[in-house]
């Protein structure tokens, strides 16, 4: 049973099937098997938060979860954040990141977006301190955190986002 097995996942409302060994992480499966490369991989041991996705509405590190474990759960990645697959523009969080220069190289951005999304779902009007504490599990190595925090606060100040989930 160390060999490849069939894995069926529900990602952004769509059912995908692929094959992978049990040791393949959800992050690698999303990227390499399903070609959903929006989810990025930084440290691959749960420290940087770049690979953060939602499972049943809550953030998880997709490098700390094997793809086989995610079967039967409802997954959401950064590709599912913008309504209608982006055809109707960006999600308010993405819009705010763009407007406030909350990304430079963009590598950490998908993880920050998914973490911030979970925060605003449970706490739609967070304080700056709450945003900083919440995002402490996501590392950025080039933009700096100031604009990221400001972008999340700006998105929170907007009318209720029509989020896809």
């Amino acid at each position: 049973m160390t060999g490849a097995v069939d894995i069926t996942l529900l990602v952004n409302g769509k059912t995908y099937t692929g094959r992978a060994e049990p040791r393949v992480t959800l992050a690698d499966f999303l990227r390499d098997e399903l070609r959903l490369t929006g989810t990025h991989l930084g440290c691959e041991h749960g420290a940087c938060g770049a690979c953060t996705v939602l499972m049943d509405g809550r953030t998880v590190r997709s490098c700390l979860l094997f793809a086989v474990q995610a079967q039967g759960h409802d997954l959401a990645t950064v590709e599912g954040l913008a309504p209608a697959g982006g055809a109707e523009g960006l999600h308010p969080l993405q819009e705010a990141f763009h407007r406030m220069h909350a990304l430079q190289c963009g590598f950490c951005t998908p993880g920050f977006l998914m973490s911030a999304y979970e925060l605003l779902q449970s706490n739609p009007r967070p304080t700056e301190e709450e945003v900083r504490t919440w995002l402490s599990g996501n590392l950025c190595r080039c933009t700096g955190y100031q604009n990221i925090v400001e972008a999340v606060l700006a998105a929170a100040a907007e009318p209720e986002p029509e989020a896809h989930q």
Binding site: H45, V60, R61, C63, L64, Q69, S115, E118, G137
Partner: protein, 291 residues
Amino acid sequence: MKPAPFSYFAPRSLHEAVGLLVEHGDAAKVLAGGQSLVPMMAFRLAMPDVLVDLGGVGELEHSRVEGDTLVLGAMTRHRAVQDMGWLRTRCPLIVEGVELIGHPAIRNRGTVGGSLAHADPAAEWPAILLALDGEVDAVGPNGNRTIRAADLFQTYFTTALAPDEILTEVRLPLPDGAPTGSAFVEMARRHGDFAVAGVGTQISLHPNGTIVDARLALIGVADRPVRAGSAEAALRGHRPTEEVFAEAASVAIGEIEPSSDLHGSSDYRRHVAGVLVRRALTIAARRAAAA
């Protein structure tokens, strides 16, 4: 993908899970929330041939209050405990400790039972269990047994659990009767990092204002979480004053054996532990007085 190859099993019942552990012996590891085991596999510090995933064992996910005891199934996620709003006032030690575990995404996955069985000497759950004189149940091929907190932790990442046993349930006695206050404080380099040192405490007051019961559990300062029994004895019968807390802190730092690493020397950890003992006691005493 960094982990070495393994065979994956997802049992649907405890009985089935124990059967797999018996069958595969030392080659098997139990996978709970995976927030410690999977990083260790990524570094190949752990290379189990077999993973037994408890994610589908629904009987481990219960949580309830029985009398004055909080009962948590081993697969209860940290986040679920954090979300128990009533617990924040009833026993802040638990919620404050849980909130110091990693980051939101870690707490969404990590489990109470997994943290206790992993037994990292800097982890919060072992200190919570120790401070509250809790106990855990484990099931193995020979049936159930109960292990008291004081008997569970042996040394670094080592518990009294046998390789073919699974921790199933955690029971935490909640304060009742006498006015009681508790707190969990720690010092880490960055929010969510492993603690340089940490202290969970609970103190109860006699109607005359003296301390009748004191618990001090320290983390990050030895090969396992430590109850500072002599410091607790130094508190009993005294009024909760700054001087008494300072004396308890100086006794407590004589009961620990911190090691040195890149986050802090042994002396530094000892100093930090003393400061945290005083801080935790001060907060707990204030809460006890207001209870």
